[in-house]
């Protein structure tokens, strides 16, 4: 462990500017979304019909609505903050869910081998065969919209990648000296898997998590964009974008700002993920 800590410390000293910016953006995003109730100037559903479709500050608007208002006179900045909170909450919950589920199945496959492994890997292949957006679309439409179902569906995005990765990593770890000697010493399976193997493969799994996260955000926003994700009055970035589409001609700001927010988030996470992978782990591609 000390070895990897010093490696992280050394890596931090050589952090390039883009990564610093990306980290900075994510920190700001986190602070703003967590403190939404104190920071947002208006409520996300607060309408002001006399101030509909006001342009943003630099495009003829005023300080009352820095990023303008939408077709119902709702403040875009406030909606952006609350929408980002919902989008990020769903993406984080979903990502953790998928990672836990996939990793658990990967460990199971690697432990039992044989038939269990065959069946699990077949499921992995099947999941890989159907684009997640399609599957989610079908299930959501027929299950109806429900936040829990939605989070689970978003979470299932990419579970098969964790399962594949975890299985491979565990199989390799089982061959290594420290696990072999623990087995011979008669250590119990949970102790070997959770106490020894998991900490050793966690780095690669975290990198995979970072690489997966942008896709998860995009899946959430895409579904909400199509009107099949987060439902009003609750708002999310994708939903704002989708609603703003009808007003592109007279009020571009309704959809452009949430789009920018999604893009800046995915870009930041992508950059950090790539950098982490290059720095800490060469085995994940």
């Amino acid at each position: 462990m000390t070895m990897s800590v010093t490696r992280i410390a050394a890596a931090r000293r050589r952090m390039p500017l883009t990564i610093l910016l990306a980290c900075g953006f994510l920190v700001v995003l986190l602070v703003v979304t967590l403190g939404a109730d104190w920071i947002a100037p208006y409520g996300y559903a607060e309408q002001d019909l006399l101030a509909r479709m006001r342009p943003p500050l630099l495009f003829g608007g005023d300080w009352d609505h820095v990023l303008g208002t939408d077709n119902l006179g709702r403040d875009i900045l406030s909606r952006l903050i609350y929408g980002a909170r919902v989008s990020i909450l769903i993406a984080v919950c979903g990502t953790l869910l998928g990672a836990l589920f996939g990793t658990a199945l990967g460990f199971t496959a690697a432990h039992f081998r044989g038939w269990t492994e065959e069946v699990l890997m077949m499921l992995v292949d099947l999941q890989a065969a159907i684009p997640n957006l399609i599957l989610a679309l079908a299930v959501l439409a027929f299950l109806g919209n429900n936040l829990v179902v939605f989070i689970v569906l978003v979470g299932l995005d990419g579970w098969e990648r964790y399962a594949r990765l975890a299985r491979g990593l565990v199989l390799t770890a089982k061959e290594s000296g420290y696990v072999q000697s623990m087995m011979m010493a008669g250590a119990s399976a949970p102790r070997i898997y959770l106490g020894q193997i998991l900490p050793n493969v966690a780095g690669a799994l975290v990198v995979q998590l970072t690489l997966n996260f942008p896709g998860t955000i995009i899946l959430e926003t895409a579904l909400s964009f199509l009107g099949l994700g987060v439902q009003p009055p609750l708002t999310s970035l994708g939903q704002m974008l989708g609603q703003g589409r009808a007003y592109l001609l007279n009020a571009w700001w309704i959809s452009v700002f949430p789009g920018l927010a999604v893009f800046a988030t995915t870009m930041s996470v992508c950059l950090i993920g790539d950098w982490l992978r290059d720095r800490l782990d060469a085995s994940v591609r």
Binding site: A129, P131, I134, A141, F142, G238, R245, L249, V256, D274
Partner: protein, 309 residues
Amino acid sequence: MTRFVLIKLGRALITIFLCITICFFVLRLTGDPVDMMFSDEVPETVKAEFRERLGLNRPLPEQYAKFVLSIFSGNFGTSLLDGKDALLVVAERIPATLLLGGAVFILALMIGVPAGVIAAVHRGRGTDRLVMGGAVFGYAMPNFFLGILLILFFSMQLRLLPSSGYGSFAHLVLPAITLGTAMAGKLARFVRTSVLEVLGNPYVQAARGMLLPSRRVLFRHVFPNAAIPVITFLGFELGLLIGGAVVTESVFGWPGVGRLLTLSVARRDLAVVQVIIFLIAGTMILANLLVDVAYGWLDPRIRYGGDAR
């Protein structure tokens, strides 16, 4: 080799079967489609009549058996909307999807492959960073947002290209760029990795050591070897392209399979949704199978090595 192909074929068939089963249960167990089709005001007798006609009042195992049988006889049911054969409804949309998909593939290949090769050859230098930065951009950019930006700029600001529709080359440009950018980004990353891997091999080093011209080393030794994983990648992208096109087709009003899927989901048109899922899953499984077989044919180690994963 025959045994290898048979095993792979069996696996593909089982996957298709699993896919059909999961599809059936997900779509049937998650709610009564008749309830969803009609509003609450529709009298119960009419609903019962519809259930009877669609066979939805039968026990589930019977429905399932019927379902599998009808699929294997090529009968996918009729669209709930207008009673047309669901297969035909989907088939009508395939040309538009293929047209868009083809354009996207060509665009992605034309940008992604050279960009990836250039980045690999100039590894670690400014060109590499530029290309990889562009690739991350393409990957991180949600296609619905890129589509909207393109519409704002090219359709509303410059009034150069139509923002939606189908029928002429001008209509194809914006959706193709939207989807092509993302794929080119992914492809460039992938090509770069495979070329770098080949460049590290002893035979390339040897060719270099023999002072062969670097262009000849690239074309004779590097490209053919780096091409194999790239072809695999393209195979996988084939099915994903139809899936990824769902959002883009909706943004641009492109009358392809993806848009049909969104519409059918909104209308709760079970039969059509099923056909589309089978179409996509089938394409992916077939692509997987072809890639596996091609790999086994090219590389005997995989054929005899047991674990081909």
